[in-house]
Symmetry: C2
Subunit: 137 residues, 2 copies
Amino acid sequence: MSDFVHLLKTKDLKATPQRICVLRELEKKNHPTIEHLYDALRKENPSMSLATVYKNIATLKEKGIVIEVNISDGKMHYDIYSHPHVHLVCQNCGVIQDIDYDDALVAYQHSLETHKGIKVGRLDLIATIESCSFCKK
Amino acid sequence: MSDFVHLLKTKDLKATPQRICVLRELEKKNHPTIEHLYDALRKENPSMSLATVYKNIATLKEKGIVIEVNISDGKMHYDIYSHPHVHLVCQNCGVIQDIDYDDALVAYQHSLETHKGIKVGRLDLIATIESCSFCKK
DNA sequence: CTATTTGCAAACCCTTTGCAAAAAT
DNA sequence: ATTTTTGCAAAGGGTTTGCAAATAG
């Protein structure tokens, strides 16, 4: 049994081919939009519907399997959520990269909690850079 | 001459009453949505058009006077941009607060730049908290 | 067999656009 | 007088919904 089938079962979701394809496409780490997913998946399965992509993403989001990445380009991007991480967005080519938390970010979260007397549930951090190794500018 | 009129002139924008009202409403620090702005401004000026709010926000954003705050609630929120800051969003009541950068966040940005060999242009950071002093939960 | 999911189309926002009239400089 | 901005209505684009048929477990 593939990992995705198992993952879906543990979350009480049916392992439909459409759903597994969505996860497989997300796994490629391109941080695709709904439209990207739809275009890619329609090539394998021409009857795949746009609404199915939307519904599956909504379901996977509710279950915490997928997170939304909002880089303010007018469309939502999606990412499989494995552990907390930061997104690095290249202003030049649009590539989104995942960056693991480091000690300095953990320290910042602690400083926030200490100084503001709050408990941070989640940090959504998008760091914009002018160019990256993919566009080499 | 009011500060806003002066600000607009330095950015080569005409100081229309509608534009000044948008800025005044943004100044209240409620991080309003377009709809909030429209509803509030229509009370003072019933002929104020929704398209005018959109156009002014777009113009003010282009000039760097206003920034978009995306808390993933389906609508964009807006904020006057004075200096870099973080947004704290209460999951319970939806209130958005501005938090100034502190040494720990500056340290994190430096660690990113040092370890990844990148130059960060902007950090968009949204910290989600479960409850806040406004909803007292 | 039962509950969930799919696919289609229509409906639903929120946002943008075109254009003539009004206002700012 | 010139250029920008406003207001209206229509169009646009991404997302959601309703429902019958298909599928997973």
